[in-house]
């Protein structure tokens, strides 16, 4: 404690020997280096092989290339807007204002999975729907859904390894089937999930697709009681099975053009269906569906009545981070949720500063 030696400013302490000075300086150096080392350790400087958001984004860039200004995944898309009309049925499950009776404004974005923003539309390519609900009190709810009943992987590492397995070989420019086979051999959950996915018929377009929130979340009611839930948007537009006509005709954007034509003809609608989990339903594994017979509650209707090219819509510059949640909705223990939030954020930060190249679907396409 230095207080004794400094009881009077005029009283000089006995001079240190040069050895003692060196020892003290060395001690100070060690302390400072330890603090700096701890800081760098927290920043991952000593674990260069750990899975981080930048390494995830790098992997997307290696597989699909870098397209300036575009999302690193689900790069091809169009933007939409409309409203969500709650019917009040959700208020007993969650205190989130979005579930009260009444309308909230919504912007969204339909997309195809993959990092190539000019990829040719194909029926089997995963379709995405990102939505942002503006709640009346200034809160927001964002969700990013896809048209698969379950997710093919259940951990961030699984997602990463599967992505790497799809990386095109530099010689053949195609993914190496052996790498995918090796991935599947060590990921039985993916094999199971693909079986479930294959058993669901793909619809003909974006407008009659069902979109699933994939991860489990928790709804918290006004009394603080929380229950596990999963949600999906179920189309009002009647189901029609997918055909490959569009691709066969060589129309690269046929799915998007059909969506634009459809939305210009009449507003498109989906019911927001909440599945209520039982206490022992798994909430940490997006690759398995909950058992049949779980209570389903229709909490309101999404209406999308306007479509825009990415170039003119503010939705292009929104990160549909699935963990932007209002009070009343909380994350589950699914490890994919934090990973999605982290990697989306990294993708958003990378593209934010890049020059924005024109989208495949141009402003003139949406005015036809």
């Amino acid at each position: 404690m230095p207080s004794d030696s400094t009881s009077s400013p005029k009283e000089q302490p006995a001079p240190l020997t040069s050895g003692s000075t060196l020892a003290r300086l060395g001690g100070i150096g060690i302390v400072l280096l330890s603090v700096a080392g701890a800081f760098l350790y927290l920043g991952g400087w000593f674990t260069p092989n750990a899975l981080t958001p930048p390494r995830f984004a790098d992997a997307f860039e290696r597989v699909d290339g870098i397209y300036s200004g575009f999302r690193r995944n689900h790069a091809k898309g169009v933007c939409v807007s409309g409203f969500f009309e709650g019917n009040g049925q959700g208020t007993r499950l969650s205190k989130a204002a979005v579930f009260r009776t009444g309308r909230v404004r919504v912007v969204g974005r339909f997309s195809l999975s993959g990092g190539d923003p000019y990829v040719a539309d194909a029926p089997d390519t995963v379709r995405g729907l990102g939505l942002l609900f503006w709640l009346p009190d200034g809160e927001e709810w964002r969700t990013a859904m896809i048209n698969l009943p379950v997710f093919p992987v259940n951990t961030p590492q699984g997602f990463f390894d599967r992505l790497v397995a799809t990386q095109p070989d530099p010689k053949t420019h195609k993914p190496d089937p052996e790498k995918m086979a090796a991935f599947l051999a060590s990921h039985p959950e993916t094999v199971q999930a693909i079986k479930i996915i294959k058993s669901h018929a793909v619809s003909s377009g974006f407008d009659n697709s069902m979109y699933d929130g994939l991860n489990a979340f928790r709804f918290v009611d006004a009394g603080g009681t929380s229950i596990p839930v999963r949600w999906s948007m179920v189309p009002v537009q009647p189901f029609e099975a997918a055909t490959t006509t569009g691709t066969a005709q060589g129309d690269k954007n046929y799915l998007f053009y059909a969506l634009i034509a459809s939305i210009l003809q009449h507003p498109l609608q989906w019911h927001l269906i909440i599945a209520l989990g039982q206490p022992d339903d798994r909430t940490d594994d997006a690759s398995v569906a909950w058992p049949d017979g779980r209570e389903q509650v229709d909490v309101g209707t999404l209406t999308l009545d306007s479509v825009e090219s990415e170039e003119t819509s503010r939705a292009r510059d929104i990160n549909f981070d699935p963990l932007v949640l209002p009070a009343g909705i909380t994350p589950s223990d699914d490890p994919l949720l934090s990973a999605r939030s982290a990697v989306y954020s990294q993708s958003f930060t990378r593209r934010a500063g890049e020059k924005k190249e024109p989208s495949a679907i141009t402003p003139s396409d949406v005015r036809k």
């Binding site: 230095p2 009881s7 302390v31 991952g44 809160e139 990160n319 490890p335 939030s341 990697v343």
Partner: protein, 181 residues
């Protein structure tokens, strides 16, 4: 009995140590969260409200400092050393004020909601512009490293004065009361 004031006032010392703990925690969370997958969401959820709390505290601290009497520098310090000490103090205050504002501003420019906890959130302070976000996001990183380096320099200087020069530098800001004899 009136003796020469040897220490910063109790409120200044309290704010100093409270903010020291908060800022170090914040720097650690910040550098960890950008490299984190599993902990990302939890860390961000702490980072945002803690940053705003630091912004509020630094304003209180600055006002408090203006209205407090400061102890003199130790006699051992030359006028150049005093100039460097004052400049680094000003730099720390500036960084502690600007860094949370840049964070708030960059979230505003990205149109992320600035949620503190529950439904409590702050309004955006800048227009929605991803280019602006990109610049501020980089600035936030640069300022964080600068803040960390300034902290290391401050910590190192105090250790040097206290342990090598032995002029009682630390006792001026010691959390406990040091009695003048």
């Amino acid at each position: 009995m009136t003796t020469e004031q040897r220490q910063f006032t109790a409120s200044m010392r309290f704010l100093h140590w409270l903010m020291a703990a908060m800022v170090l925690t914040m720097l650690g969370i910040g550098v960890a969260m950008v490299a984190s997958i599993a902990g990302y969401h939890r860390l961000v959820s702490i980072h945002r409200p803690l940053g705003i709390l630091i912004l509020i505290l630094v304003v209180i601290r600055f006002v408090n400092r203006r209205f407090s009497t400061l102890p003199p520098f130790p006699a051992s310090m030359s006028s150049q050393e005093r100039l460097v000490a004052s400049a680094s103090e000003l730099l720390l205050y500036t960084l502690l004020f600007v860094q949370p504002l840049v964070g708030w501003g960059m979230l505003s420019a990205a149109r992320y909601p600035i949620v503190l906890f529950g439904s409590l959130h702050l309004p955006p302070i800048l227009p929605h512009s991803v280019m602006l976000y990109a610049v501020l996001r980089r600035t936030h990183t640069v300022l964080a490293y600068l803040l960390f380096l300034t902290f290391i320099a401050h910590f190192g200087a105090v250790l040097f004065h206290t342990l090598v020069v032995r002029d009682g530098m630390f006792s001026r800001m010691a959390p406990w009361r040091v009695r003048a004899s």
